[in-house]
C-alpha cells in the first residue's frame, strides 16, 4: 500500500482566485490520478499524471482550468484556476500500485474546497 497526504485539507476561496493542492506519497509511484467528488456524488476522474509526461485529461476537463504538475515520482499538484462556486468539491489524489499482488489505487484524504 501507500501513505498519501494532501495539503490543504480544506479551504474556503473567493470566486475568481486559484488554489493549488499538493499530493505527497511515501514511496515512488509511476501513476498518480486526480479525482473530483462533488457534494453527494461519486468520484469523477479529472486527469492522469505520469512523471515525465504531460497529464492526460478526461472528457470535460481541460489543462487551462486544472493544470497539473508531476515533478517527481512522489509528488504532484493540481491547481483549480479561476474558481467559481461550481468548483466546490472534494479533490482527491490517488496512486497506482501495480504488480502481482496489487493493481489497486490508493487515495489521499482529500481536499475540501468551498468557493464563495
Amino acid at each position: 500500500s501507500a501513505v498519501i497526504s494532501q495539503k490543504p485539507s480544506r479551504d474556503i476561496c473567493q470566486r475568481g482566485t486559484s488554489l493549488t493542492i499538493q499530493c505527497q506519497v511515501d514511496s515512488q509511484v509511476t501513476m498518480m490520478f486526480w479525482y473530483r467528488q462533488q457534494p453527494g456524488q461519486s468520484l469523477t476522474l479529472i486527469a492522469t499524471a505520469n512523471q515525465g509526461s504531460e497529464a492526460t485529461y478526461e472528457s470535460g476537463f481541460v489543462i487551462d482550468k486544472f493544470p497539473i504538475s508531476r515533478p517527481n515520482l512522489t509528488f504532484s499538484t493540481l491547481t483549480v484556476s479561476n474558481m467559481s462556486p461550481e468548483d466546490s468539491s472534494i479533490y482527491l489524489c490517488s496512486v497506482e500500485i501495480r504488480g502481482a499482488a496489487e493493481e489497486t489505487q490508493y487515495f489521499g484524504p482529500g481536499t475540501r474546497l468551498l468557493v464563495l
Binding site: 461519486s42 493493481e103 489497486t104 487515495f107 482529500g110
Partner: protein, 114 residues
Amino acid sequence: AQSVAQPEDQVNVAEGNPLTVKCTYSVSGNPYLFWYVQYPNRGLQFLLKYITGDNLVKGSYGFEAEFNKSQTSFHLKKPSALVSDSALYFCAVRTRYNFNKFYFGSGTKLNVKP
C-alpha cells in the same frame, strides 16, 4: 461503455445482523472489481478486490465480496454489522482495455443502528 451500478442509495441494518451492499457492472472483457469505504470527512479506503481466482474475496474489517460472472455482480457482505461500519461504500471496476481508468458506482450509504 463501462459502468458500475449501486442500486441502493442507502442500506439500513441493525448491529449484529448481516449486511449486503449491492454492485453490478457492465464491462467489455474481464473485470477487475474493487470496494472502497469512505468515512465522514475522510478519503477513500481500499477494502478488497477481485482480480482472478476464487470468486469469494475477503478483505479488511471482516468484509467479503463474491464475484458472480453470470449475474455480473460483486456484492459486498459482512456476517455481523458493527455501528462503526456506518459509512459510504463505493464499488469500482476497471478493465484491461482501459486499464488506467477506474469506473466508480454512485455510492451506497450504510447505516448500522445499535
